[in-house]
Amino acid sequence: MQKQQQVEADHSTLAVSTVKQKPVPLRWYRWRQRVALPYLFLAPFLLLFMLFFILPLGYALGISLFADRLVGGTVFVGGQNYLQAFQDSSFWEGVRHMLLFMVVQVPVMLGLALTFALLLDSGVTKLRTLFRLGFFLPYAIPSVVAALLWGYLYSPNFGPFAQIASSLHLPAPGFLTDSGMLASIGNIVTWQWTGYNMIILYAALQAIPPELYEAALVDGATGWKVARYIKIPLIAPVLVLACVLSIIGSLQLFNEPSIMATLAPNVIGDHYTPNLYAYNLAFNDQQYNYSAAISFTLGAIVFVCSYIFMLATNRGRLR
């Protein structure tokens, strides 16, 4: 504290020698120190953040309020695009896929990740490093490559599952059919992201001080009870964060269905997920305004979903 004052005093006397009045340079110095300097450090980030986050968001909102008319060109239509989206069965079919996917895939993936993390943390196996690296490996590859890989594995022509089935005189499993597609995509995402979530949860578990559950172990609590009543509550915030990030991820599904579309074009049309729909509207139909309205609605749904989830899980706990 004293040092700080001294520095400021030094500076003000320095300033006094050039400018005569004392309070003004002091205020200027303070302003520089408290406002200008921090914002100078933030400037590169904030500038790009404005350009590539705020501006596109605002722009999307803006053009979503207009429509291209055959007569009269681009005209302001207010909320009409949003109204159209609400009545658009293609959009809702995508939303239905997306929500179904989210409700099944996220719990399965996080359940597996939590199980693995608890097992590794409990020291019940000696091959910890092998499992950690092996499970995490799929995260390191592009989701496009993951989708390509699994797409080939699913293939009814040369996929190993179909080969095994045919050698047993069974019909090839319908991974790429109407009924199997969503599960097949869910499997790709689970395969790719379980290890990543496991590492996050494992790190949180390792950060728990052992004293917190040593007493329970001495009292004869089983590993499962320790996990259920001590470890899981302690890592709940991390679990919530992982959940929110997974929900966001699953709601913006695009890469996997777009790769699968090349392998099974009849199953995945142009609106299998809302994201795919927005993409096709913009780039195949040139309906930029409507596409922006869809993108914006999708963004709002995701934001609201994750916000509600955060609120619901934060209830009764201090921030």
Partner: protein
Amino acid sequence: MAISVNTPVSREVHAGQMKRTRWTRQSLATTFLLVFLVYFVLPFFWLIVSATKTNPELFTSFGLWFASDFNLFKNLGDLFTHDGGVFLTWLWNTAYYATCTAVGAALIATIAGYAFAKFQFPGRTLVFAIILGSIMVPSTALAIPTYLLLSKIGLINTPLAVILPFLVSPFGVFLMRLYAQQAVPDELLDAARVDGAGEIRIFWSVAFRILVPGFVTVLLFSFVATWNNYFLPLLVLSDPTYYPLTLGLASWNAQASANGGAQLLFTLVLTGSLVSILPLIVAFLFLQRYWQGGLTLGSIRS
């Protein structure tokens, strides 16, 4: 609870039982994990096996084992010469985009995170809350408007169109703020101030050195995000000479699937996939400390 543990015999029995149940539990858990290890590693194994096969063998031989002749080097040769060696261009593009983005994003996030951690200024809480909130907005919802904006200023179909949007890493700022809070002591900065160093110099020559591990973590994650990115390049790049690997491989895959006759492309896609994932796997194996550190840091929130 058993009260009879005092007699030596029962204690021995008890210990023996415990040892046995412990052993069963261990082997059960290990078996369970091994089953999943197979699940996670099997596609990689299939990829390696498939990259050694010729096109016909891909269809005729069993997928999970090697075919009679080992064709990997021929496939690699084909991969790098097909279509005038365009694969090498894609590889170079990907490395170039990923490096520029990673270095830029990590640097910008480090500077911003440091400012949030070490300065008190008006608007700090609000600005940080907006940045955190932006993590929840899906990046794909932004991609189409970003494309439209970029096309307005004529940046479409240039490397900048892929690099610039990815320089913004809200999660990186979040991570670096946490890291700077924990790693850089205020006393050190005050000491430097007393010595008369300016704030910018203090950052570069005092704080940044301490922040390097966090910087590398953000660098690594940005690198992976750009290396693996598909959606934005798909929108903003139309010239194949600017394609990154993901886009290139997907375009070959689309060609191969569209005209079933062009089966040569299937082996190219598979061999190309294998080559494209090797650098990241190597990076992750060698930089374990950094990504695990970063994920740990992200988890000590709350």
